[in-house]
């Protein structure tokens, strides 16, 4: 299996991305079953790789049979398989929501089997792009898959119609600028080393003497990927994109899209460019920007009235937290960053599926609209509460452990940076408490009396469910996963940590 799964993992989504629209175009029938089957198969491949890597060590896979640095290599270790499982798993929920849910604003155009097939194809393409980024060991190939995922994401965002189109256009401008900056940086690296393979780069970079050129390269790459990862001053595209996307898209994009870019940043800055002087400086800057992002994102989240927009700003805060971990760079900090990626992806996916669904069932997007919902739909709201508690960082949810790791890492890092990181993480929890408790209080302790309630009880019509079932299933499942990830935090740590240590050790050993 070890020699087949890597190929399948990257091939299946692209296969599906063409197959599903083809079926939709030819048969004019619904493509629900093949799309869901493909998502399940991709998740199975990702899980299989995860297990295989955990059992028998990392896998290097030469696509086309050409070994690196001549061909393109894929590289699977604890880190990449973890993110792959996360992407493939949440994609399954998004596909489920996309398939069965209404999940679309009324402004969006009417749905036809062909259009649904195209949207399913776009989701598969997005998954394929993200998995490609996660798997690749080649800096140019990373660019190609970055663009695949971006184009698919623009499509899915724009499918909401109306304001979503404008959000998608702004996202496209930011994303393309980011891609070009990154590619320019890759050009500098190629001019200096003559290679594109990450291992080869890491081995050849220490002997490069052109410091200024290397600095420019590192800065270009870091800025490009930071835009994609929504690092604080470069986050402009994020709020509108998350708020106006159709719900299945918003849930998926908010959960994993920026995180995969953060993963790429971690790979490049933390591993490949770590040996260079410029890389170290840029990592420091990343840390400080992360601190700024955590604080600014939290404060702006408190200032929002619309719940989805509040969640979007809280995502910016969370991305800052992840980049604090990346910036600190110690094994403990990386574990924290990864854990936060997982914890935040599960919790934020859950919250966006929930908030989008509640918005779509015409209860509005503000706290008043949510008043008293806890009594009407206890299970789904309990699930959303679990996710919110994880965002705040209450044990035993996953969010507690990620903050715990990051806090311990900031103590061991010490110095002004460590203190700032420590303070920012604590502050973010306080701010998250403020903005989530406001909602939770309304949900559980207020009556919907004065709230605009569109359920139509007074008119005697069928009450609209708080959350349609196609969205309730992902919400509850993700909340359960948030709890499970928190409870099984220790095995997780043991699985990922050794790989990272041996990885950095390998690279520092290869550097003379």
């Amino acid at each position: 299996m070890r020699d087949v799964l890597p190929g399948l993992l990257v091939a299946l989504p692209l296969l599906g991305a063409a197959l599903v629209p083809l079926l939709a175009a030819l048969s004019r029938r619904t493509t629900r079953v093949p799309a869901l089957a493909l998502h399940a198969a991709i998740l199975a491949a990702a899980l299989g790789l995860f297990g295989s890597v955990a059992a028998a060590g990392p896998i290097r896979y030469a696509v086309g049979g050409w070994p690196g640095p001549w061909g393109i290599e894929l590289w699977f270790d604890g880190l990449s398989t973890l993110i792959a499982v996360l992407v493939a798993g949440i994609a399954c929920f998004a596909a489920f929501a996309q398939t069965f849910g209404p999940g679309r604003d009324e402004a969006a155009p009417a749905s036809t089997p062909l259009r649904e097939g195209l949207l399913r194809g776009a989701l598969l393409l997005l998954v394929g792009g993200l998995l490609g980024i996660v798997a690749t060991r080649d800096v140019f190939n990373l660019f190609v898959f970055l663009e695949i995922s971006s184009l698919a994401a623009y499509t899915l965002v724009a499918s909401g119609g109306g304001r979503a189109t404008v959000a998608a256009f702004r996202y496209l401008l930011a994303g393309t600028a980011a891609g070009s900056l990154y590619l320019f940086g890759v050009g500098f690296l190629y001019a200096l080393t003559g290679t594109l393979n990450m291992d080869d780069l890491a081995a050849r970079l220490p002997s490069v003497e052109a410091d200024a050129a290397l600095t420019v390269a590192v800065v270009l790459i870091a800025v490009g990927l930071s835009i994609k990862a929504a690092l604080f001053p470069l986050h402009g595209w994020l709020p509108d994109t998350y708020v106006y996307s159709p719900t299945p898209t918003a849930g998926f994009i908010a959960a994993v899209m920026a995180k995969v870019s953060a993963y790429a940043l971690l790979r490049l800055l933390g591993e490949v460019l770590a040996g260079t002087a410029a890389g170290a400086v840029v990592l420091d800057i990343t840390l400080w920007l992360g601190v700024a992002g955590v604080v600014a994102g939290g404060i702006l989240a408190v200032a929002q009235r619309a719940i989805t927009r509040m969640l979007a700003w809280s995502s910016i805060s969370a991305m800052g937290m992840i980049l604090i971990g990346v910036g600190m760079g110690s094994a403990l900090a990386i574990t924290g960053a990864l854990f936060h990626m997982a914890a935040h992806a599960l919790a934020k996916g859950c919250l966006f599926f929930g908030a989008g669904g509640i918005r779509a069932s015409r209860r509005g997007d503000d706290v008043e609209g949510w008043a008293g919902l806890g009594a009407r739909a206890p299970w789904t709201l309990a699930a959303l509460t679990v996710a919110a508690l994880s965002m705040i960082g209450i044990p035993p949810t996953a969010g507690f452990f990620s903050k715990y790791y990051l806090l311990s890492a900031s103590i061991t890092t010490g110095g002004p940076a460590g203190i700032a990181a420590f303070a920012a993480i604590i502050l973010s929890s306080l701010l998250a408490t403020v903005y989530f408790l406001r909602v939770l209080e309304a949900v559980w302790f207020r009556t919907p009396g004065d709230a605009p309630d569109a359920s139509g009880d007074s008119a005697g019509r069928q009450p609209v469910p708080v959350l349609p079932r196609p969205l309730a299933v992902p919400v509850v499942a993700l909340a359960v996963l948030v709890l499970l990830t928190g409870i099984f935090a220790r095995p997780f740590e043991r699985h990922v940590l050794p790989d990272w240590e041996s990885g950095t050790a390998r690279i520092t050993a290869e550097a003379p």
Binding site: P21, L22, P69, T215
Partner: protein, 281 residues
């Protein structure tokens, strides 16, 4: 939008501040880039890392290893065939996107005469197109097949083929309403659905070749393992032609989709656009 989310409007820009910031940032970007560039190897230096590290193998061994005299084709389709699959997926994504955004909304086409959708109806143009289009289409196929030994390949051929389709649409109107406007000219070329099918088939063929290589025990896209007979370089040459053809299909289909949706397209209302601001001139 019954559920228009309350809250602030999307990121109100303050143009003046942004302009001032920009005025400072962009010269800085330029200076930074140039300072970095002073330390790069000289333009044309044969001893630069880029020219000495990987490329000698691509230059000296490509013909023997892949059977392609055009080294760019060898690297594109074989050594870095996975990139090329990604490239095909990128343009396919653009086609999907335009279909989702503009066409598949169950909308009606523009009324005739809007935008560029109306045929020109000139006899000279009509006659010239009748001669030119077959030449362009034929040349596209030549570019595809000859890409092994000369510049060209699936992508360029596909764009040319797509351009031929665009030419017909420009002169005779779009495929799906060609007959109505110009009864004398048979509507030729795939409609939107047909173009989409072409594009999907291309991607499927590409991934299919890659998966077939896996079925015969190789890595994904390792054409060398395909049982096509002959020496490995020859097998790789044949498979390369296969994937170039796949790219050709994808690109030709997508180009037609892009042109149809963007220039002819469909609108939600089916009504012509009322003039907007500054539209008077």
């Amino acid at each position: 939008m019954g559920t228009a989310p309350p809250g602030r409007p999307p990121a109100p820009g303050t143009p003046r501040v942004r302009r001032l910031l920009g005025a400072a940032a962009f010269p800085a970007l330029f200076v930074g880039l140039v300072v970095g560039m002073t330390q790069l190897p000289e333009f044309g230096d044969p001893a630069s890392p880029a020219s000495t590290h990987l490329s000698p193998r691509f230059i000296e061994d490509a013909a023997a290893e892949t059977g392609a005299a055009n080294m760019v084709t060898a690297v594109l389709a074989d050594y870095r065939g996975y990139d090329t699959l990604g490239e095909a997926a990128v343009i396919f994504a653009a086609g999907l996107g335009c279909l989702v955004i503009l066409a598949a909304a169950g909308a009606r086409p523009d009324p005739p005469g809007a935008g560029m959708s109306h045929p020109f109806g000139s006899v000279v143009l009509d006659a010239a197109t009748r001669i030119l289009v077959p030449v362009v289409l034929l040349f596209a196929v030549y570019v595809l097949i000859h890409g092994h030994v000369s510049p060209g390949g699936g992508f360029q051929g596909g764009v040319l083929f797509g351009s031929g389709l665009i030419m017909m649409r420009l002169v005779w109107g779009p495929a799906h309403e060609g007959r109505a406007h110009q009864p004398a000219v048979p509507a030729f070329g795939p409609g939107l659905r047909g173009s989409l099918v072409l594009a999907c088939a291309g991607i499927l063929a590409y991934v299919g070749i890659g998966l077939a290589a896996m079925a015969f025990g190789g890595e994904f896209l390792n054409y060398g393992t395909l049982p096509l007979g002959g020496d490995p370089a020859h097998v790789r040459e044949l498979a390369t032609l296969g994937i170039e053809a796949a790219v050709f299909l994808t690109v030709a289909g997508t180009v037609a989709v892009l042109f149809d949706t963007i220039s002819i397209g469909m609108r939600e209302s089916g009504a012509p656009l009322p003039p907007g601001d500054g539209d008077s001139a």
